[in-house]
């Protein structure tokens, strides 16, 4: 606003002198050929016949110049040598800017420093009047010693800041997703001015005027741009034509070499001024106006007024920014808590933390709020999307609902579930997945690395979620969840659990809950080819179902079964002691189900209490169903539906917050169910065969559906089933049977589409994806699949083999049903993340139970026996072998003959004992030789020793 006036004014005053200077120079690229001085005329001196210009700054004034024409695109550059010596507080600037309201601007600002300390180069992008995108970088050379080239490439796709042809900052055009992009004609400007109020050390180091004048040298006044007359407000289309070299496709993004240079620069030499306070380092007014000033007192007065206005405008703008923050380019964090009473006297608490990082391409890899570990994960494994959940307990779809966004998104199978989409070529996906599992297992202290083995994960095609081949899905149903996993998860939050809503997370009370699911969801657009880059969004949710302390005295009297009253303190043992200061928004919500709201309405009607009818007007506070201890800041009501669900919003302030709910009357309601109630079980007995059965039972919703759609006739209920079966369960997919209302059906009538990838022993699990279409009138359906139990090799058994083996949950989803709740919304863009999640159209989905299949397991104490037996066998084998090898038959025969000649006394005795003549004994049986005198002697000796030993030792 005031800007243009000032510029015009200055322009008008100094017009003629400029022209004079232009005429003076006779070199083709003379300063005055393209530029004109705008202020501080006597501080501008052109030397070398106009090929170099010196701007000087002293107490009285600085100086500035600008291009004569505006430009719509181009590559703008300037060779600059900065003021040397102690230049603290001195700002040298080279920038493009548009005139008028909501201006666009692309800045190079060199912030001087005390002697010996390096210059800081600050770049900034204003688009549509929005700035706040400062980035600071330490230069890798001394800019005061020599001229260096500083350039800005500006086309429709990106804006690149170059230093000596090395890209130091990239700002991508993300206007498609609402990120503003400079789109007005801009003029090239250069200036030197005193910015000691902010420039150096945040304004603490002031300009040392003893070193004045400060002189900056500018060279290279050729402008490669699509020039437009200053009068034009819009950039004509021709400026985007690829006739200009900078509009050509290879300048739409950095080439590989540039990319690496860019990353090097950003990793190595970029410095940030520490943690940035939300209320930006005083981005000082564009103070080239500061010291024009010496000439007319009138002008000074006039200017001051304008300046003041300008300042106020600026500040309020920043303030608004800090509060509402519709700027995506900013790293931001928000914390929210949703509470919901459940029909079975429990309370659902859903913590939702969202961190958002601007795209790396324009903002670099350094983060203030966003967890570095996560952004590194994204960069390293080129993640497009990832979800990791740790769950303990089961979500009760019957009682806690199966049709709302929370149950669809946050009800997870027990144990660990991980899926990720990678932006890497198909043949690299598996490798990336394996590396990712290792990284995550380190990060979250969990055995996620077991998902590395190809037998544990699968690559669903379309059954799990619409994704190309770069999706991998794996679960660990047996993983135990504990604080060990929660602590690293909390470390990702900027305030950890020290402040803000996360401070509620008292470990004993949240692990005492009936359901505990900690989830981490990551979406990044960094690697999207479409060029839409909105950075990384990290959502961390913790869903806990808690039982408020309940005095168990109401057992007998059924009528007065009042729901237990609760408060944050009673449930968590703590209260919120104020918001996390780093959070952009910090809210607590209390949601009342449709059913509950309707029930309360009914009660009010019954009791003939003057129905205010509008629950939304903090009516529930005074209503006789229950009472809240804190007055809500806002009451939101679901947009459509006769029985709207109600949401109370409480904004967190700095003081402590403890929401309590006291029930006054017993209420009975039920949550909305998924169209079908799915459960899965094992059939059969014995260790050989079995069958998996998935049974689907209609719920109220599908009955309603039946009533509404019956007229239309061919109503079909679509159900997707996604099932992964480990390889040791050998599923016979041909044995698929479908029963509807307990009558067998032809499979082809029901199964619309099916994809099966059979398991491969020891290599990959079996995956089954199915689309089923059931008639709407159906009451129940069952799907059965037979399987053989595999026989594992001894080393494939896990340490706890006797526990049995798990079949992970199947995923049943209903693509035609969307779990979204739309609350009355003012049109503002800055919706709270939870509300945003509520509005997302995600299909209703439920997980079935994990199954435990007992397989035949060997007795692992057997090895001892096995060793004994094998040793015996070996001994016998080798003994006899040796015997054969060693034996000399002839010799033995000779010996036998000699022995036969003299029959011993014992032989005779034994023969007598057996009542047989000696001859027959000798001839018929060889056994006589068995009892030789020596042998008996030996036996007696040994026995004697043994007896003596036994007797005396004892």
């Amino acid at each position: 606003m005031g800007f243009a006036v000032v510029s015009l004014f200055v322009f008008y005053v100094l017009l003629q002198q400029g022209w004079a200077a232009t005429t003076e120079s006779n070199i083709p690229i003379n300063f005055y050929q393209n530029y004109q001085v705008t202020w501080g005329f006597n501080h501008v001196s052109a030397i070398n016949r106009g090929t170099e210009v010196q701007l000087s700054l002293d107490m009285s004034s600085g100086a500035g110049f600008e291009s004569k024409q505006s430009y719509g695109s181009g590559f703008f550059h300037m060779n600059i040598k900065l003021p040397d010596r102690n230049s603290a507080g001195v700002v040298t600037a080279f920038y493009l800017t548009s005139k008028g309201n909501k201006h666009d601007e692309l800045d190079f600002e060199f912030l001087g420093n005390v002697e010996g300390k390096p210059y800081t180069l600050q770049t900034n992008v204003f688009a549509n009047g929005e700035g706040n995108r400062e980035q600071r970088i330490a230069l890798w050379f001394d800019p005061t010693k020599d001229f260096h080239l500083y350039g800005i490439l500006w086309n429709q796709h990106q804006i690149v800041f170059y230093v000596d042809e090395i890209p130091i900052r990239v700002y991508k055009n993300n206007s498609a997703i609402g990120v503003a992009y400079p789109s007005r004609p801009m003029q090239v400007e250069g200036s030197l001015w005193d910015g000691d109020s902010w420039a150096t050390d945040g304004g603490r180091t002031k300009t040392d005027w003893r070193y004045a004048p400060f002189i900056a040298h500018f060279q290279g006044f050729a402008i490669g741009g699509c020039s437009i007359p200053n009068s034009m407000v819009q950039i004509p289309q021709q400026c985007y034509s690829s006739a200009y070299w900078w509009n050509q496709e290879r300048y739409w993004k950095l080439n590989h070499k540039q990319q690496t240079e860019y990353e090097n620069v950003r990793n190595n030499s970029a410095t940030h001024g520490g943690l940035r306070v939300p209320h930006l380092i005083g981005h000082a007014p564009r103070s080239r106006t500061f010291s024009i000033i010496s000439t007319s007192p009138m002008a000074i007065l006039y200017l001051r007024a304008i300046l003041l206005l300008y300042l106020i405008g600026f500040c309020s703008f920043f303030y608004a920014n800090a509060v509402h923050g519709s700027v995506i380019e900013e790293e931001e964090f928000s914390e929210e808590l949703l509470l919901r009473p459940l029909p079975d006297r429990k309370v659902l608490s859903h913590f939702h933390f969202r961190s958002r990082a601007p795209p790396t391409s324009s903002n670099g890899r350094h983060h203030h709020l966003f967890p570095k570990a996560i952004s590194q994960l994204v960069q390293k494994f080129r993640l497009k999307e990832m979800e990791l959940s740790f769950t303990q307990g089961r979500w009760n779809y019957d009682l806690w609902g199966g049709f709302d966004p929370i149950s669809s998104n946050n009800a997870k199978p027990p144990g660990v579930e991980l899926w990720a989409v990678f932006a890497v070529p198909q043949h690299h996906v598996d490798a990336s997945w394996k590396n990712l599992t290792h990284a995550l297992s380190g990060l979250f202290c969990a055995s996620i690395n077991f998902l590395e083995s190809s037998t544990t994960y699968s690559a669903p095609d379309w059954g799990f979620r619409p994704a190309s081949g770069s999706l991998r899905y794996g679960t660990l149903p047996r993983e135990a969840v504990c604080t060990e996993n929660l602590t690293p998860w909390l470390k990702l939050l900027p305030c950890r659990d020290k402040a803000g809503i996360a401070a509620l997370l008292d470990r004993p009370s949240i692990y005492k809950g009936y359901y505990h699911s900690q989830r981490l969801r990551l979406t990044s657009t960094e690697f999207d080819l479409e060029g839409v880059d909105s950075g990384i969004v990290l959502e961390q949710t913790l869903t806990v179902v808690l039982q408020p302390n309940d005095k168990r005295d109401v057992m007998t009297s059924l009528e007065t079964k009042l729901h237990p009253s609760w408060s944050l303190t009673s449930m968590f043992g703590r209260k919120i002691k104020g918001r996390c200061v780093l959070a952009k928004s910090s809210n607590v919500f209390l949601q009342l189900d449709k059913g509950l709201v309707a029930e309360i309405h009914n009660m009010q009607k019954e009791n003939k209490i003057s129905v205010s009818d509008n629950l939304a007007h903090d009516g529930l506070k005074g209503n006789h169903g229950f009472a809240l201890s804190v007055k809500p800041d806002r009451v939101l009501e679901e947009v459509n539906g006769s029985q709207p669900s109600v949401l109370y919003e409480f904004s967190m302030d700095s003081e402590s917050f403890d929401l309590g709910l006291t029930w006054k009357l017993p209420v009975v309601w039920s949550c909305q169910q998924a169209p079908l109630h799915a459960s899965r079980f094992l059939m059969g007995s014995g260790n050989e065969r079995g069958a998996i059965a998935i049974s689907l039972k209609s719920t109220e919703l599908s009955r309603q559906l039946l009533h509404s759609d019956m007229i239309e006739g061919s109503c079909k209920l679509q159900v997707n089933v996604f099932q992964v079966v480990p390889w040791y369960i050998k599923v016979y997919y041909h044995s698929l049977q479908v029963f509807i209302d307990e009558r067998p059906q032809a499979v082809l009538d029901v199964v619309e589409k099916m994809r099966v990838s059979p398991s491969e022993d020891k290599v990959s699990p079996g995956v089954m994806e199915m689309i089923l279409k059931f008639p709407c009138g159906m009451k129940s359906a069952s799907i059965t699949l037979e399987f053989d139990k595999g026989f594992l090799h001894i080393d494939e058994y896990p340490p706890d083999a006797n526990q049995g083996f798990d079949i992970p949950s199947a995923i049943i989803s209903y693509p035609n049903f969307h779990a979204s709740i739309r609350f009355v919304e003012d049109k503002s863009l800055d919706m709270s993340p939870i509300l945003g999640k509520f509005q997302e159209d995600s299909s209703v989905l439920s997980y079935t139970e994990v199954l435990l299949v007992p397989l035949t397991t060997p007795d692992f104490s057997m090895p001892y026996n096995v060793i004994t037996i094998t040793c015996t066998v070996f001994a016998l084998y080798f003994g006899s072998l040796l015997n054969v090898l060693r034996r000399r038959v002839a010799e033995e025969e000779r010996l036998l003959k000699t022995q036969a000649a003299k029959t011993g006394l014992l032989a005779k005795l034994s023969a007598k004992l057996r009542r047989r003549p000696l001859e027959t004994a000798k001839s018929s049986s060889s056994s006589s030789s068995l009892i030789s005198s020596k042998l008996i002697l030996k036996v007696v000796l040994v026995a004697g020793i043994a007896i003596v030993w036994q007797f005396y030792r004892g």
Partner: protein, 709 residues
């Protein structure tokens, strides 16, 4: 003496040993059999104390949480349930509704399970097939149906993969005090478990409707749990049985029965099951607990399960743990004498060396023998001793706990106290099983109990059978060689011109002589299988008294034997026709003995106890058998004795006779009826007992062989 001319080579020791044993088979067999019997009698002495093998179980390490409040709540249920007895009308349904109401008030998921008890139908191909594969009959009357009530508590933080089952059978038509008390115990535990946080496995409480038998109700539920039939039986039921639909009407009450679900609810794989019963009559001395563990075919639950129950009952709740005993053994004199003998032997051993721990007090010995006998008998019978048997078919470890109280249940305080004790016992067991990460596998599956805290493991009791059976192959071998030798001697005596050619021929012939005998034995065994199938035909005849059926069976068997004899060219009398050949029968005997040996060995793998008892009967019979004709020819004392023994053994060996003898010894002669045997056999079919197969396919043919001789 062609062989003797060549210098005799010294054979390998093992061969020599074998030859030695064969040549002394008589002595050997007598010694072995005696040793086998002695080893069996020694088993109570050799029994070891039980110990808890699985560390994770940790029974009794936590204090019981069950409070008097739970017990008095349970007491209320007991009173209400009993009170319904006096009311007329559909008290059964009311009672079901009441129990279901109590369950759902606790927050459990409740459903009714309606079933038709499956009748006992013999099917020859049914043995060893998986349970529940039988077809369900359609034409069932509504009166013949029961309704189980199933309550499930989901473990708050568990993953629902495993479950523990509590079963309380009760008669829905008229409940007695004991059944009501068992309901009370289960209820008190159940109500506690809805509140505890340590639960890792789901708890299923099955209130089994035992009006058609406890076992039938439990097995029907298990069948539906594991092998549901998707053939629309339920819808048919709903159409036919209007009366039973009262239950459905009950569901119309909106708020109270909200949790009651008409489908079949399931939890995960079962880890263990406990059947709780309370005895109606009062115990004389102290509160006691009887443990029943035998399932079909002598399968036993893991010893650890019995151990924890025993440990908790004895050391925590002060109950006296018992296992079933054979009372007739306790009273018998000879066992007492034997016990005293062992005791004095033990004293002698201790006198020699104080460290030798051998021998137990005579009283203990008698008790142990009685328990062991009952344990052996029950395992051998292969009929489960309670509803827990149904679980074993699905590889679930289960036992029945029968608790009886000293005090009468009339007093409220004593009732409360009893409920508290019983409840705490069950709680402790559940808590231990709940601790278990893996299924039961650490401890023994093959064992015999001599008292609740003493057992004989497979390694020990195998010895008795091994000793008993060992003579069989030796005797068979010796008979065979003797026969051959005799033959050759006979041949030798005949003067022949072309000796060498005939000799060769003869050797060939001789080596194949056993085929003839084997053929006979095979024919007999196939007759045995025919006999085993005959009851199927007999069953088809309607309205047949057991006695008549039995006689019919015997008649048919005899007929079939005759037919077989005629068709198959009368192999038996072949021997008599040709001159009575001593060698002939010896070979026949050796083949029979080896077949019996194989049969016994196989049976010992399937059901040890059957093999042991069968061995006791068969082995002496096999060894003593000698053709009567031969014996009668030579009239000597030895022969006479042999004949007498043979006749006795043959009489005892005949299965019905065996049954009678055993029955009369244990129960007295007054209940003597031929039909009993039929009933007994019928019960064997019902439980798919392999004992039946053993009897008709191994025992009977052997016996026939013997008696033929």
């Amino acid at each position: 003496m062609a062989e003797s001319e060549t210098p005799r080579t010294k054979q390998r020791p093992i061969v020599r040993l074998g030859l030695f044993l064969i040549s002394h088979s008589l002595l050997f067999s007598v010694v072995c059999c005696a040793a086998g019997v002695v080893a069996l009698l020694l088993l109570p002495v050799l029994a070891k104390n039980t110990y808890i093998s699985e560390n994770a179980l940790m029974p009794g390490s936590a204090n019981p949480m069950l409070s008097g409040e739970d017990a008095s709540e349970a007491n209320k249920l007991v009173k209400e349930v009993i009170a319904l007895n006096s009311k007329s009308g559909a008290s059964g349904i009311k009672r079901q509704r009441l129990i279901a109401q109590y369950m759902s008030d606790l927050g459990a998921e409740v459903n009714y399970h309606k079933f038709h008890p499956q009748g006992v139908h013999f099917h020859p191909l049914h043995f060893f097939s998986s349970p529940g594969s039988g077809t369900t009959e359609r034409n069932i009357s509504c009166s013949l149906r029961g309704t189980n009530i199933v309550g499930i508590i989901r473990a708050p933080r568990g993953d629902g993969k495993e479950a523990i089952v509590l079963v309380t059978p009760y008669n829905s038509v008229k409940i007695n005090q004991g059944e009501a008390m068992s309901l009370g115990i289960a209820y008190s535990v159940f109500s506690l478990l809805t509140r505890v946080t340590w639960l890792a496995k789901d708890i299923i409480w099955l209130v089994a409707d035992s009006q058609h038998g406890e076992y039938a109700a439990v097995s029907a539920w298990l069948r539906d749990y594991h092998t549901p039939v998707f053939n629309g039986l339920h819808t048919i039921d709903a159409e036919i049985c209007v009366v039973a639909n009262n239950l459905h009407e009950a569901k119309e009450q909106p708020t109270n029965e909200r949790n009651i679900y008409d489908g079949f609810r399931r939890a995960g794989t079962m880890a263990a099951a406990l059947v709780i019963k309370v005895l109606d009559r009062n115990e004389q001395f102290e509160d006691s607990l009887s443990i029943y563990a035998e399932a079909s075919n002598g399968q036993m639950p893991n010893l650890d399960l019995i151990n924890i129950v025993n440990y908790l009952a004895v050391h925590r709740q002060g109950l006296r743990a018992k296992v079933e005993k054979m009372w007739s053994v306790i009273d018998s004199k000879w066992v007492k004498t034997l016990g005293e003998l062992f005791e004095s032997l033990g004293q002698l051993a201790r006198y020699l060396n104080p460290q030798w721990k051998f021998g137990i007090p005579a009283a203990d010995y008698v008790e142990g023998t009685a328990t062991l006998a009952s344990s052996l008998y029950n395992q051998a019978l292969g009929v489960p001793t309670g509803p827990h048997g149904a679980f074993r078919d699905y590889q679930v470890d289960a036992i029945t706990l029968e608790i009886s109280s000293r005090a009468s249940f009339d007093n409220k305080n004593s009732r409360n106290e009893f409920l508290l004790r019983g409840g705490r016992l069950i709680e402790g067991v559940i808590r231990s099983v709940n601790n278990l990460l893996e299924k039961f596998h650490q401890s023994f599956f093959l064992y015999l109990l001599t008292s609740p805290s003493k057992f004989v493991s497979v390694g020990v009791y195998m010895i008795a059978l091994a000793l008993l059976v060992a003579p069989l192959p030796m005797v068979a071998a010796s008979l065979y060689t003797d026969a051959n030798k005799l033959d050759s001697i006979q041949r030798k005596d005949k003067p022949t011109a072309s000796a060498s050619v005939a000799e060769e021929c003869d050797v060939n012939l001789r080596s194949w002589k056993w085929v003839n005998a084997a053929k006979k034995v095979f024919v007999l065994h196939s007759w045995g299988s025919v006999v085993s199938l005959l009851p199927y035909l007999v069953c088809q005849i309607p309205n047949c008294s057991p006695t008549a059926s039995f006689l019919l069976w015997v008649l048919l068997s005899a007929l079939s034997l005759l037919i077989m004899h005629l068709i198959l060219a009368s192999p038996f009398f072949h021997a008599t026709e040709s001159q009575l050949h001593v060698g002939e029968w010896a070979i026949l005997k050796s083949v029979t003995i080896s077949v019996a040996f194989i049969g016994l060995c196989l049976m010992s793998v399937i059901n040890f106890a059957t093999a042991e008892i069968g061995g006791l009967l068969v082995v002496p019979m096999c060894l003593m058998a000698h053709p009567l004709k031969l014996d009668l020819k030579v009239w000597r004392l030895k022969n006479f004795l042999r004949v007498a023994f043979n006749i006795v053994f043959v009489f005892i060996g005949f299965p019905p006779a065996t049954f009678m003898v055993l029955k009369s010894t244990f129960e007295g002669f007054n209940s003597f009826n031929v039909g009993d045997f039929w009933n007994w056999v019928e019960s064997l079919w019902a439980w798919n007992s392999a004992t039946y197969l053993y009897i008709v396919m191994v025992h009977l043919p052997c016996w026939t062989c013997k008696s033929e001789d």
